[in-house]
Amino acid sequence: MKVPRDFGSLGLIFERLDAILEDPRVDDRSVFVVRLALEEIFTNMVKYNPGGEATIGIAITLGDREVTVRLVDRGVQPFDVTAGPTPELDLPMDERRIGGLGLHLVRTLVDGLEYAHYDNQTTITLTKRLER
């Protein structure tokens, strides 16, 4: 699916995701993790690549043993979501910042996270193994 580069697209994205993950093979934790990871990556694209193309491509696949989500963002600069420092989590409350927290959650919760950038196009693939 291709969705407008806007937080408002989350409704449509979740609708599609819910329909695919309604399958009884998919455990509750995997549903939660995939929703969260997809939202965090998508909202990062919206926030940090405002000059990219008008739509972002999202493909969701339910396999035998895992769910895979691929996001494609065109007309953007490179930003490797798999690299980069973990945010400072042990600071006292008044020094804690929200920046980097979304990606930290994604990296901790998903089983696979891949990033590729070529010709102004970023492709991010995340994988969550189904649990039983």
Partner: protein, 99 residues
Amino acid sequence: MFAIATGNQGEVILQGRFDASRADEANKVFDQVTTTTRVNFGGLEYISSAGLGVLLKTQKRLAGTGHALVLYNMNKLIRDVFRIARFDVIFKIEEQSGS
């Protein structure tokens, strides 16, 4: 679906899914909170970093006057998110509420 409301004991009640598209709506309610306030997570099934951001902003502001949010009835998945983000040391999180 997301709903945020104030209960008749002054607690904030969250329901449904708290995602990035709901942050503005949530901020409007949390901006009204000025004293120590309980937040009922019982009906909330999902939260992302946007939601954590609203809560953190509120907690920081309340700390200025010696107040805080008290979070209760979280499901296990949301509890895990708080733990991974180390928000469980920033917020008082209660297990099953007495009522």
